[in-house]
Amino acid sequence: MGDLDAFRAETREWLEENCPESMRLPMKSEDEAVWGGRDAVYANPDSKAWLDRMGAQGWTTPTWPAEYGGGGLSKEEARVLAEELRRIQARPALTSFGISMLGPVLLEYGTEEQKQEHIPKIVRGEIRWCQGYSEPGSGSDLASLQTKAELDGDEYLVNGSKIWTSYADQADWIFCLVRTERDASKHDGISFLLFDMALPGVTISPIKLISGSSPFCQTFFTDVRVPAQNLIGKRGGGWTIAKALLQHERSMIAGMGSGIGSGGGRARSMPDIAKDYVGRDGGSDGDRIGDPTIRDRVAQQELDALCFALTTRRSLDSAKAGQGPGHGASMFKLYGTELNKRRCELMMSILGADALGWEGEGFNDYELATTRQWLRSKGNSIEGGTSEVQLNVIAKRVLGLPD
């Protein structure tokens, strides 16, 4: 414990010195999140400073090995760091698919050179990644994907198209599932390939979302020449890596539902927001949500959220070091995203017509963000594998029910 206390004291001091004040305030919108990358624009210079300092410490990825730029912290130290970050209400220094998806599988399946090349840039937010999995005809049935990569000398020639590629227009590199083995079975013909989106033959067209923003893209590949050494793991062995990555992705998505304000600052609690919008009445403490229906629904929501948070913690507490999230990720993905969708629906009911604005005059930032977040939340139970797919995984892999 002594060491951990010392670590806590040092961490606290370091954060005091290095976390800019503005990085301890709530984000006003999703746009303030820092994703890094070659073309990143930092509207607030503090966010760049915060990223650089955390990146240099390796604390954007606290438990990743120090030899690749990670924090090299033990599980216990990482928890202390997380607690101290929460204590000062710090925003995440970096949000990235490199951290939440690619990094963990690169560490597991990459060669030494591949790790040396890519991991440090992920840690420091220098390269922004996107995920090239889904295709127009291959969503839930991901393994039916058609984008092909043919070996031509020491290069792969990539042809095909990916869809729903989040932020492809802002990403520097893509981790992409491609079919390399023409004659192999559906699952055995897939490889996991990394390449630079600036390569000739890559074109990207953004697709607008119902929530108004355009993170979706369709991405087209025409004779894109990718160095053969960019293939991760075994040729034709990409499905295993793809699935492992999905488990990391699902864990990440499961945790996304903590609401506006989770990006730094103290988020106002749902009961407090409800009191503001629907009023208060007497009750035992003289200060409860005024509308009994809303009061019940908020109580139910808070109860579900508490149990979910505790289950997440219990799972982390019992996980063995170095063990990935496994099929349990499906449970968290399923419950976490459905919970978040219910939360967003409830927020709409609480705000009433105040939640019906789209832009411009008449609504405050919080109200407008609530509306957009409600729409965006509909995607949570789709991205990373739909709820139905998670239910199938749980039934089959966790419960062992017959196919």
Partner: protein, 410 residues
């Protein structure tokens, strides 16, 4: 009345469906949104709907109306709801014309109703002040002056307020916010000094405005109904509007449900139609049950208005709560089943999701309806009681002459 459509109502349904599919498919709402159209609807189309007898569907022949009932209005609104038609039916035909019919003086009726029947006039009810729907929660003040009243306050979510030719403003002449007594209904010219109308851009691309009243001088002749007694008009008016909106929302959710069903029969994954998967089959079958239940309560509520039954208020709450819940369910299921493509703005299902949620919240969703206290209201019946029985069908016959005859200048 039986819970089936008469031949005439069937005909109206077919006519309406054909008309809106041709003249106002969802692509029209999208275009109005994307082009940032200043009005968000079409005066020309409104006029045409007047010529078809739609805008005057509830009004008597004397003013150029079709003299039909809510059952017919419901048929129409359901079809308009299917393609998300943005014309100001709720604000003008139901709320505006409804308030004037219920409580207006002969002069007010003569001045306003013919223009509504002919599709030339748009009205809006300026009632709500906060996001939560609570009809008596009115703080806007009307102080008596020598010749009338001076009104000060701010109204929000005024449906079609930015294009209204006349505003019906609910203001407090006595008492305090939340009280049923002490409300008065005023006709206000939106063009008068000290009235500021600002359009607000809504999630469903439909039309609403904020109305700021900064000491507007209003003549006593502009009071609609009795001073302090507006709730006697608002209660039945809002019940009717709630039922009308339920009918529109029922059309919207039915269309979303049918499109989802169609998608289950076309989209393929794992080499089969996704409708093959039992999980989705069961969902569709559940939706079917819910939609059928909605249809019944909406029909019953519409007929209850026409028959002047005493339980209209309860049925209004029941219909709105039921339809709202089902709309939410259909919205969530549709988004989930359309999956990736459903999250795009390009796919129309998102428009339904947005409109359904907005309509749910308008006049209170399932959570608020049962608590707005409708059951405890008195029933005023200031309007002549509706005459049941066979009605002559007057729709879809251009009535230029009769409309002109009924119009009073001013």
């Amino acid at each position: 009345m039986a819970l089936v459509l008469t031949d005439e109502q069937e005909l109206l349904k077919d006519t309406a469906r054909e008309f809106v599919q041709e003249r106002s498919p969802v692509t029209r709402l999208r275009a109005l949104r994307d082009e940032q159209d200043e009005t968000g609807f079409g005066r020309d189309l409104w006029k045409e709907m007047g010529e078809l007898g739609w805008t005057g569907i509830l009004l008597p022949e004397e003013v150029g109306g079709s003299d039909l009932g809510y059952a017919e209005l419901g048929v129409l609104l359901e079809e308009l709801g299917r393609t998300l038609v943005p014309e100001p039916f709720l604000s003008t035909v139901v709320l505006g014309a409804g308030a004037i019919s219920l409580a207006g003086s002969d002069a007010q009726k003569a001045a306003l109703l013919p223009g509504i029947a002919s599709g030339e006039r748009v009205m809006a009810l300026a009632l709500q002040e906060r996001g939560r729907f609570a009809p008596y929660d009115v703080s806007t003040k009307a102080e008596a002056t020598g010749s009338g009243f001076r009104v000060t306050g701010e109204k929000r979510f005024v449906l079609d307020g930015h294009v209204a030719d006349d505003l019906l403003v609910v203001a407090r002449t006595s008492g305090s916010a939340g009280e049923r007594d002490g409300l008065t209904l005023f006709l206000v010219d939106p063009a008068s000094d000290s009235v500021r109308v600002t359009r607000t851009i809504m999630v469903d691309s439909r039309n609403a405005a904020r109305v700021q009243l900064d000491g507007v001088e209003i003549d006593a002749a502009q009071v609609v109904g009795q001073v302090d007694r507006a709730a006697d008009v608002l209660d039945p008016l809002l019940d009717r509007a709630t039922i009308a909106l339920s009918a529109e929302l029922f059309g919207t959710l039915s269309e979303a449900y049918e499109r989802t069903l169609e998608y289950l029969k076309t989209r393929e994954q794992f080499g089969v139609k996704i409708g093959t998967f039992q999980a989705l089959k069961h969902r569709a079958a559940n939706l079917f049950c819910e939609v059928e239940l909605c249809k019944s309560i909406v029909m019953e509520a519409l007929r209850a208005i026409d028959e002047g039954r005493p339980n209209v208020a309860q049925l209004a709450s029941a219909a709105k709560a039921r339809v709202s819940d089902t709309a939410a369910l259909v919205g969530c299921d549709a988004a989930q089943i359309f999956a990736g493509i459903g999250m795009t703005d390009e796919e129309e299902i998102g428009f339904f999701l947005k409109r359904a949620r907005a309509a749910e919240i308008t006049f209170g969703d399932a959570a608020t309806r049962p608590t707005t206290g409708t059951a405890s209201r008195r029933s005023p019946a200031t309007e002549r009681s509706p005459t049941p029985g066979p009605r002559e069908r007057r729709l879809r016959r251009p009535r230029r002459e009769s409309a002109a005859a009924g119009r009073v200048p001013g």
